[in-house]
């Protein structure tokens, strides 16, 4: 296995094979991987919020679902990926806290992240082939271009391979 590359908050990393991309401790954020099995290219982005339209300047396109998805596709195509071959896997979007009787937008940010990411993937015509989203638990994720598998770890309930 190659030395894993950490994808920090709001960061985006794209790479040709061989590469291992990881993000530790996703909560309400989304770990989105888009890959092309033929050209063996893959990229991961750590999306924090659904929509960039409320902010004046957006120095980190990876922060928002609406800017992260198109940019990730551009970057992958620049590396030689074929858009029609691109597939996506995602994890995250948990609701870490719930207060009885409170349905605050602050707590449902995870859900809104999932919805926005799905919407932008679908708008770009990228097929989501696996996902592990929602719930109340945080996740660590790892993606390897060797296997094109997405490994999702949750504290207390073990490891899933997507």
């Amino acid at each position: 296995m190659t030395q894993p590359v950490h994808v920090g908050m709001a960061e985006m990393v794209v790479s040709r094979h061989p590469a291992t991309l990881i993000t530790l401790g996703l909560g309400s954020c989304i770990g989105l991987v888009i890959f092309d099995q033929i050209s063996r290219t893959a990229g991961m982005v750590h999306i924090m919020l659904p929509d960039s339209r409320d902010v004046k300047n957006n120095p980190k396109p990876g922060k928002f679902a609406d800017t992260a998805v198109p940019l990730l596709l551009d970057e992958l195509q620049r590396l030689g990926a074929n858009k029609s071959q691109l597939r996506a896997k995602m994890a995250g979007g948990a609701q870490m806290f719930s207060i009885p009787g409170k349905d605050s937008a602050i707590f449902s940010v995870g859900n809104r992240n999932v919805e926005a990411t799905l919407k932008h993937l679908s708008a770009e015509g990228v097929k989501l082939v696996a996902s592990d989203t929602g719930g109340s638990k945080g996740r660590s994720v790892e993606f390897s271009t060797e296997t094109m598998k997405f490994i999702v770890k949750t504290l207390g309930s073990g490891i899933k391979e997507l």
């Binding site: 996703l26 909560g27 980190k60 806290f97 207060i99 009787g101 638990k137 660590s140 504290l155």
Partner: protein, 208 residues
């Protein structure tokens, strides 16, 4: 307002002082609850890029327990009391009047979480009371919510909450330490103001 560009040292001092009083009150409340001495560190107020929030508190995969309480009104914010999971159970057991060690995991977890949510509630409630006395604002608080998870995942949410406003987080780090135990037992209070709330507070304190 983008925090990084517009907060001055006077603002930081004001926030630190408010936190100092808030944490002092919280330490007293916890001390009364436990019947033990509780020390506190002098609070540190720092502007941190939201992308570094998790690293600021420790390793991302460390298991922690966090209690979150919100206040909504003239000053709206979320407050989190966070403690390493191992320490959390020791803290919980200090107020549970029976031996839970022999119970099944699920029951034990529920009893401990219940104790922790009440301890978090008392600590954060005391913090808010102090803030309320300084500002004259009424600060009703919600019932507490407890999460046990990776530090990174809790901070992921904290960073997102700050991320709605800008790219930096005003982190007030204050630690409480319970004395007379075999080892150090400490937790951290984190205040996450809603958009505009920090400005309202600074304005009320007469420094903005």
């Amino acid at each position: 307002m983008d925090h990084a560009s517009e907060f001055t040292s006077i603002h930081m001092d004001a926030i630190r002082e408010v936190s100092n009083i808030g944490t002092g009150n919280a330490a007293t409340a916890l001390s009364k609850l436990l019947g033990r001495m509780v020390d506190m560190d002098v609070p540190v107020a720092e502007l941190v890029p939201i992308y570094e929030v998790a690293a600021h508190y420790g390793l991302p995969e460390t298991p922690v327990c966090a209690v979150l309480v919100r206040t909504e009104g003239e000053f709206s914010c979320s407050l989190i009391f966070m403690i390493d999971e191992e320490n959390a159970d020791v803290l919980a057991d200090l107020v549970i009047p029976m031996d839970v060690s022999g119970m099944d995991e699920e029951t034990k977890l529920q009893i401990r979480n219940s104790a922790l949510s009440e301890q978090g509630n008392i600590i954060i409630g005391a913090f808010l009371n102090a803030l309320s006395q300084i500002t004259g604002w009424v600060m009703p608080n919600t019932t507490p919510a407890v999460a046990r998870d990776m530090l990174g995942s809790i901070m992921d949410l904290v960073a997102s909450m700050f991320g709605v406003i800008g790219d930096s987080a005003m982190l007030v780090k204050t630690s409480l330490h319970v004395k007379d135990l075999d080892y150090e037992l400490g937790g951290t209070v984190i205040m996450i103001p809603d958009p505009g709330a920090l400005e309202a507070l600074l304005s009320k304190l007469g420094v903005l």
